[in-house]
Symmetry: C3
Subunit: 341 residues, 3 copies
Amino acid sequence: MRHFLTTLDYSRDELQGLLDVAARMKAGRHDKTLEGKSIALLFFNPSLRTRTSFELGAHQLGMKAIVLEPGKGAWPIEFEDGGVMDGEPEEHVREVARVLSRYVDAIAVRAFPKFQRWEDDREDKVIRAFAAHATVPVINMETITHPCQELALMLTLQEKLGRTDGKKLLLTWTYHPKPLNTAVANSALIIAAKFGFEVTLLCPTPEYVLDRRYMDAAEEMAQAAGQRITVTHDVEAGYRGAAVVYAKSWGALPYFGRWAEEKPIREAHRHFMVDRQKMELTSGGLFSHCLPVRRNVKVTDEVLDSPQAIHIDEAENRIHVQKALMEALLAGASAGADRAK
Amino acid sequence: MRHFLTTLDYSRDELQGLLDVAARMKAGRHDKTLEGKSIALLFFNPSLRTRTSFELGAHQLGMKAIVLEPGKGAWPIEFEDGGVMDGEPEEHVREVARVLSRYVDAIAVRAFPKFQRWEDDREDKVIRAFAAHATVPVINMETITHPCQELALMLTLQEKLGRTDGKKLLLTWTYHPKPLNTAVANSALIIAAKFGFEVTLLCPTPEYVLDRRYMDAAEEMAQAAGQRITVTHDVEAGYRGAAVVYAKSWGALPYFGRWAEEKPIREAHRHFMVDRQKMELTSGGLFSHCLPVRRNVKVTDEVLDSPQAIHIDEAENRIHVQKALMEALLAGASAGADRAK
Amino acid sequence: MRHFLTTLDYSRDELQGLLDVAARMKAGRHDKTLEGKSIALLFFNPSLRTRTSFELGAHQLGMKAIVLEPGKGAWPIEFEDGGVMDGEPEEHVREVARVLSRYVDAIAVRAFPKFQRWEDDREDKVIRAFAAHATVPVINMETITHPCQELALMLTLQEKLGRTDGKKLLLTWTYHPKPLNTAVANSALIIAAKFGFEVTLLCPTPEYVLDRRYMDAAEEMAQAAGQRITVTHDVEAGYRGAAVVYAKSWGALPYFGRWAEEKPIREAHRHFMVDRQKMELTSGGLFSHCLPVRRNVKVTDEVLDSPQAIHIDEAENRIHVQKALMEALLAGASAGADRAK
């Protein structure tokens, strides 16, 4: 049994295998290869694409998806071990993960950071706890990385560019009125490095550089592929020659929990918005974004409505890659498998 | 590809065709004529019947329905074009409609008015924006009209009355503690006119007359059918001779956003409640209401529990007409059809 | 047609029949014996296990489950008859139950007490109103009893103990920071008595004894089985010799609506928490709990993670017993059956 918590646990070949299956599923019809199986989708945060693509994708494979919202329709959950549970949570992940493992064949979890202390958030405790206690595969629907989005991005780029090695991908920070999760930025960085892109990270100041875990992993994968990771705060240098511009906003790690102090830096960099002038510096570069995206804040209408924009294709590909993923993880597994233990 | 935003876009013959299919579906078994297809149900407002009848009706046709609640489980959405999105909405309908069109074969939307300015609400921007940007059929689950309710009402009246032409239908305003949507009132007016009823609109004062768009359309359809639309504020005149009494409460259009000023007029007309005495003025008239209905506020228990009340039948018929509608709209379409563009 | 509101309406033989079917379903594959049927799941309160096990169990039988949350996604509902509905509720259970009966083949309801006056709560008005007005079977998903949990508990105990007659079951109150529903306590008491256990109820003071209706019923069933019900406030006496320890927290009935007055009593009995020392007083007793459970408040980690703990098995068994129940209630019924009336 294998979880899907981060692509760092998977080789490029393994991920390419998933992308190849996804491409075949996209081209062909729906085979109900997981008939009779089921998946619980746990949302601690809102979702449109993730929910629709998982619920519908599971259905197309013959599965039943159950959507649960802990703290809203379902009971709030505790994740720390050994404590006296006299606060809000009514039950512990030990019970939740084990019980769900009896009902369903997989558990998918969306759990954003708390945004108080990055040192806490970077431990990714919620999904790690599910993985520790579940007896069925656990899938990351976005925590501090967003590996399903990574697969969708790579499928889309392979569709548009063919082989990706040696091409330049710009990962650019953009303004957003609120500090956001670094998950998609972390994910874009490591998946682009893994697939041989020459990655440039463009952000306002050194404080917006991503967590060392992902920077180091990307550097290591880039070197293995004969490429490199470049960090820049120079907009023109970032865009020049890019084959792909991938935009995302995120909060600077040193300011977690002290957002009032970050606000002036953030506000001073509204001009990082992706626009036509910047895109013209690229080599006819493609534009994408994970969605949701705020128009004329992160990216102009002009870019989003141009033929270079492939964000709708990337969103569509979520369903295809996730179907390939569920098939890979669940072909052999079954709910209640731990009963005999 | 065709949307279903208002019955004003459909001829009487087309609508009768849907009603005939619905009647056959009601009589017979569930044929899975839309196997493998899917629909997204977007609820910006609460629902009991609409949600149950669409989700179950889709399932009976072999489809998968995905329920989304923007602003609750899903991200809040922007509908105005060209603006700088630095407010609450995290994404634009341009992205939402296009992405959903890749996943599902139809998009159904419930979006009530904002109740601040009728001049804004009457533009029906939310569903019009979905229709403009979706590449699959869009279905109105109640905005400023409620066309699915219209079909259910007509199927029920045809079941009970046979041919409807020339019969008198009273559409009566009733008291409700809050100002409500005019959607069902608009809808009852235009569908009754289209199907040849002689329609009387009974309301407290001229300020409760419905929007000119619907009054004019009804008048035109009535004339084409050799009938007429009568507006009255005289309760006895309204009920006398009616074959059908259809009750609904709504807020007066001139008072949108200034509800404190409307309140005294509303409160002074609590006696518009439908009761046995009023029903006795009709020609053995049937009673119906779209639901939800407040007992002993809009209608007495006595009327709702009488054999003349057909509101439960009308509610049941929602599922049959919506199945006929989905079949008509989707028999040829398919998700992702815009991919080649 | 038969409802499933409380196990008091069913004989031991009837319930054993359900358990036998459930055990066969657990051992075997999923037969779609209710293909084409449907069930509405109405949640007035949160749920994890109940929702997952009903929604998935229905699916495994070939049914479609529709999840509704009145007051959240669906309209708030009135349950009192004859009143003027000018408060919050937008519709009456008379309409809701009758309309849903047209759409679906069964209605399941979770409706916790209001916790203001036990004299009101004990009438179980919400589910009784659904049962009175629905024309399809109504299933209790926890109101003031939790009969589905009873079946799951008994299936689990029969799996572990074989024949249960004459064995000692301790039902122990535990501390919880909030006063909770007595439903599961009532249920454990009556189902254990029905299946021939010698039941001991351990609680802090006489004020925590359960409602006379359930105490009397348990006493009567115990006598019929040659057993007895013992109430004690002595922890050691309670645990000694128990074959099963079933833990639950609940609010004392005399303090409903005056919880500040109960708080000191509650706080003074934190030591009722189930721990290893207490479990060692039993005859190698099993431990269970209905979940959700607060670790180190109601029960220690040590007990919950020990081989004696069977709460995960009990949770799993929810799906099996509920499938057996739905099959028993729905094998012959069908939605819209009241149409001809």
